[in-house]
């Protein structure tokens, strides 16, 4: 356990030394600021377009364009893309060492293979957490700063759910926790793939391809795909949106969280099984 705590900061340091680790932070910063700027300039027009059918019948009163809405829209747009940013780093954790030739040196340390893998997993998880935290600070913090507080109008294609201001923050915190779990699934999946290869490109591209494939299957409304959807982890990764439903679909959320945690355990177990038996020959 002591070795694990000693190894984790070292692995985290290794992540920070790689330029690719900053791509995610940079991309989030640019995208979030761009969205906030666009909504600051033209948000009212965008909302008028969405609300036009209801405004024929009602006068809608209150501050619709607020920090909560901006954060929700950003989460909807970004959470689909963020797995790619995570895989870019976590897919390189083991295979990067193999490609750089440092894996042999790493494994000669008086630390078990399991501890090394666990330290890498923890470092990857901390990186994922920081990415989510940065997104939260920019999207929610920035949103409140620029647009202020207000009731959240959850935009759906066929429904509007309006949640009161005092009933929102815990939902965002929950959404960020689920987003962390979802990204952790990607982190462990790419880490698992990383254990099987000696170059970083393979796990990163494979992770991205799987995410894209699953997301496409999840988006298309075809009965055959509907049968597959419950088995895809990407289906459960978007469960954070259900935290903004009223009433809360608790059982659906718990099921999805269980599935996500199950995937993390499964991918980690495969990674452990393979890595602890891995014979480093060159």
């Amino acid at each position: 356990m002591k070795a694990l705590f000693q190894m984790t900061p070292i692995e985290l340091f290794k992540i920070t030394t790689k330029p690719r680790s900053y791509i995610g932070f940079l991309a989030i910063t640019v995208i979030v600021l761009l969205i906030e700027f666009a909504f600051y300039i033209d948000g009212k027009t965008y909302l008028q377009f969405i609300m036009q059918t209801l405004e024929q019948s009602f006068t809608i009163q209150g501050n619709i364009l607020n920090g909560n809405l901006i954060c929700f829209i950003i989460l909807q747009m970004l959470i689909v893309q963020m797995p790619l940013m995570v895989a870019l780093v976590t897919g390189d954790l083991i295979s990067g060492e193999a490609a750089g030739g440092t894996i042999r040196l790493l494994l000669t340390k008086p630390v078990s293979h399991a501890n090394i893998l666990m330290a890498k997993y923890l470092a990857g998880s901390i990186y994922t957490f920081l990415l989510i935290l940065w997104l939260g600070v920019l999207a929610l913090g920035g949103g409140y700063l620029v647009f202020g507080h207000g009731d959240l109008m959850v935009l759906k294609s066929e429904e509007l759910v309006i949640l009161r201001d005092g009933d929102i923050l815990w939902r965002f915190l929950g959404a960020f926790v689920i987003a962390f779990l979802s990204l952790n699934v990607i982190a462990t999946f790419s880490l698992m793939l990383s254990c099987f290869t000696d170059n970083s490109i393979g796990p990163i591209i494979t992770s991205m391809s799987v995410i894209i494939l699953f997301t496409i299957i999840g988006t298309i409304d075809i009965p055959f795909f509907d049968q597959l959807k419950p088995f895809l982890f990407t289906t459960h990764m978007i469960i954070w949106r259900n935290l903004f439903d009223n009433p809360l679909p608790k059982s659906q959320i718990i099921t999805s969280i269980t599935v996500l945690v199950g995937h993390i355990i499964l991918f980690l177990s495969i990674a452990f099984y393979h890595f602890t038996r891995k014979d480093i020959q060159n």
């Binding site: 377009f49 969405i50 059918t53 209801l54 024929q56 019948s57 009602f58 006068t59 809608i60 009163q61 209150g62 501050n63 619709i64 829209i73 909807q76 747009m77 689909v80 207000g150 009731d151 109008m153 935009l155 759906k156 294609s157 066929e158 429904e159 509007l160 759910v161 309006i162 949640l163 009161r164 201001d165 999840g218 988006t219 409304d221 978007i238 949106r241 009223n246």
Partner: protein, 238 residues
């Protein structure tokens, strides 16, 4: 002689019908005048309001706020959150009826509403405006409108049911129930950034389908005729 008799009979009948309908029209206007006179006692009021919403495709929790009214047509509901309100203020019709020369009123029978006998009066505006037809269920005994239905060019049909209690003397209801025509809410998934949602086959065919939305306004703690300042109606101030 015969000709005189055959001409006189229909003439008498016509005069009778004209006299009868004129009398009835005057009676309808008198009933309306009694209602507007009673409501005219209210120069201004403020009250606590609780709003409940039952609008298709809109999931909106109930909310509390304050409501302000000042003669002739200043009306504001002040809340801390997002609310959906009817397009017209609730006293739009009564204000419109205060000028008895601007409409034609026709009595259309009687109907019982909540154990009160109401007289039904149809109102047709004399000049072209947003209001096409108004129908009022008036409790003559208390000179209050228990139900009204307006057909407008811009918003279809709007129905208001009034429930009176402690402020009957001022014709101020404890509860108002608005029923409004609503077009089904639907926006493209990409515009709503809702790419992962699954649309049900039933709802995907229902674009543009009309339904009715209900808004319930519960009033309490009325403060009447206390000379409300105009500043409370300034929408820019919270």
């Amino acid at each position: 002689m015969l000709l005189q008799s055959t001409v006189r009979k229909p003439l008498v009948l016509l005069l009778f019908v004209l006299f009868y309908s004129t009398t009835y029209a005057q009676t309808a206007k008198q009933i309306i005048a009694a209602v507007t006179k009673k409501f005219g006692l209210v120069n201004d009021y403020s009250a606590v309001i609780n709003m409940q919403f039952d609008i298709p495709s809109v999931n909106l929790q109930k909310i509390d706020g304050k409501v302000f009214y000042k003669k002739p047509n200043k009306f504001r509901i002040k809340t801390q959150g997002i609310v959906f309100l009817p397009k017209q203020n609730p006293y739009f019709a009564i204000t419109a009826l205060s000028d008895s020369n601007s409409y034609t009123a026709i009595l259309s029978g009687e109907e019982k509403i909540n154990n009160s006998t109401t007289t039904i009066i149809n109102v047709i505006p004399n000049s072209e405006g947003d209001l096409i037809l108004g129908k009022f269920w008036i409790d003559k005994k208390n000179a209050v409108v228990l139900k009204s239905q307006w057909t407008t060019k811009s918003n279809g049909t709007i129905q208001i049911e009034n429930f009176f209690g402690t402020n009957m003397a001022y014709a101020l209801p404890d509860k108002m129930l608005f029923t409004v025509d609503v077009t089904k809410f639907k926006v493209p998934k990409a515009v709503a950034v809702d790419i992962n949602s699954k649309s049900s086959p039933k709802s995907s065919n229902a674009s543009g389908v009309k339904g009715t939305g209900k808004i319930t306004l519960n009033f309490s703690q009325y403060t009447v005729n206390k000379k409300l300042p105009d500043a409370v109606f300034d929408e820019t101030k919270n």
